[in-house]
């Protein structure tokens, strides 16, 4: 009886390690074993596409967006601050007049 439970527990833990494909109410679900990865791999000429979109390009766009943001931060924060100080100086001069 206890041996049976032990065996069942072992079986369950083995099954948790196994990758699995399951149907859930019409949805198709792919599950990696616990602490394991799901990977999609193409050759160097293959693409990963979602509908019409090239996922590789999308991921590239993420990086490009990040770089653009860094640039923007520099200009959008730097330039106004520069101007801000100029305006401040102008103000002082005006007061001095």
């Amino acid at each position: 009886e206890t041996g049976g439970l032990e065996l069942q527990r072992q079986k369950r833990s083995t099954e948790l390690q196994q990758a699995r494909m399951a149907a859930e109410r019409g949805n198709l679900v792919f599950l990696a074993g616990s602490a394991h990865n799901i990977e999609f791999r193409t050759g160097s000429l293959g693409k990963i596409k979602l509908n019409e979109e090239d996922l590789g390009e999308c991921l590239h766009q993420i990086q490009k967006n990040k770089d653009d943001i860094t640039d923007l931060k520099r200009s959008a924060v730097g330039l106004p601050q520069n101007i801000s100080s100029q305006v401040h100086q102008l103000n002082s001069k005006l007061v001095d007049l």
Partner: protein
């Protein structure tokens, strides 16, 4: 000569599944957790749940795949226990039943040891099926002339070793045993010894495994045990001592064309075998070779005495045409009367 591997690990092969049928639409499916296997999938399958092997692959032919079952699925399916993919490690290189000989012909058979690839054979694993081979206990490597797998032909040991060590190789070959290739083509027109004598215990173990490891009782008294055969058989064995001009292919063809048509239901096996140790005072001392040509004659149907008659005809043939055939001498043994014949 080449030998073709028969069993596959295809998804669609009924024999690979518990209850001997492929999973029905909407079935739950389970692959053994700790077995490596490559599985070819040729069709689309509707599956409610599938546990994958921890290490394995599904190779999808064009159009093949898996889908979630819809409402219209087979109502009789998916209610019982999951369909289990049988242990892919169950196929042994040494099992004679798992090979098909490339030069098979009507009326010809091979002794068990020679049904498994010989050292001069080219081995072919069909490229249109997935497969898995156990290489055995590893006492001695299986050695053949070449191995063809996944559309590649390996004739150099280092190429084969690299393939066997690759993931593709490890998915298909397993066990402590080794496999090697090398220049071993048979260039001797008198034939070449197969070279499986030392592997015979494993060959017989694999062959007899479904019979509980024991030979079925022979149907005759004083049954014969040819060299390379696992169990005794009924019929006759002709042993030829050959000279340098003997041509085994020509002799085999002569048997098939000239003699066999006169003996319905007989099968013959012709091969060069190591000469068994002779009891003192028997013939054969005139040739100093350690091999001989073994001609095994056995009856596929009920015993008719045909094997004995053909054996005597072959002895007479040697007496008459021995020189032309390149045969120096011949001896024959016959099994005794059928068991339960009442005599």
């Amino acid at each position: 000569a080449y030998k073709l591997w028969i069993p596959n690990t295809d998804f669609e092969a009924a024999a690979n599944w518990s209850q001997n049928r492929t999973p029905c639409a909407g079935a739950a499916v389970k692959f053994p957790a700790n077995k490596m296997v490559s599985v070819l999938v040729r069709e689309g399958h509707s599956i409610s749940d599938m546990l994958l092997p921890r290490d394995g692959e599904f190779v999808l032919a064009s159009g093949a795949g898996f889908s979630a079952p819809d409402a219209g699925r087979d109502p009789d399916c998916g209610t019982g226990a999951p369909a289990l993919f049988l242990d892919p490690d169950r196929f042994s290189w040494h099992d004679p039943r798992l090979w098909r000989s490339g030069d098979a012909a009507r009326g010809l058979f091979s002794v068990d040891a020679e049904r498994v690839p010989c050292r001069h054979d080219d081995v072919v694993f069909p490229s249109d099926a997935s497969f898995r081979v156990g290489l055995g206990p590893g006492a001695r490597p299986a050695r053949v002339r070449s191995v063809r797998a996944l559309g590649q032909t390996f004739t150099r040991d280092e190429d084969l070793a690299a393939f066997l060590a690759s993931r593709a190789g490890r998915l298909r070959f397993h066990g402590p045993g080794a496999l090697s290739v090398g220049p071993g083509g048979c260039a001797d027109s008198s034939g070449c010894v197969c070279g499986n004598t030392e592997a015979l215990p494993w060959i017989c173990e694999a062959l007899l495994q479904p019979l509980g490891g024991r030979c079925p009782p022979a149907a005759c008294h004083d049954a014969l045990r040819p060299e390379g055969q696992c169990c005794d058989l009924c019929g006759a064995i002709v042993s030829l001592t050959h000279g340098p001009t003997f041509d085994i292919e020509r002799y085999r063809a002569r048997l098939l064309q000239v003699f066999l048509p006169q003996y319905q239901g007989l099968q013959v096996a012709v091969s060069k075998v190591p000469r068994p140790p002779r009891p003192r005072g028997t013939a054969g001392a005139e040739a100093d070779t350690d091999t001989e040509i073994q001609v095994v004659l056995t009856e596929t149907g009920p015993e008719t005495g045909g094997a004995g008659r053909l054996a005597r005809a072959l002895l007479a043939d040697v007496a008459e045409h021995g020189e032309a055939l390149g045969v120096l001498s011949a001896t024959a043994r016959e099994s005794g009367a059928p068991v339960g014949d009442g005599s």
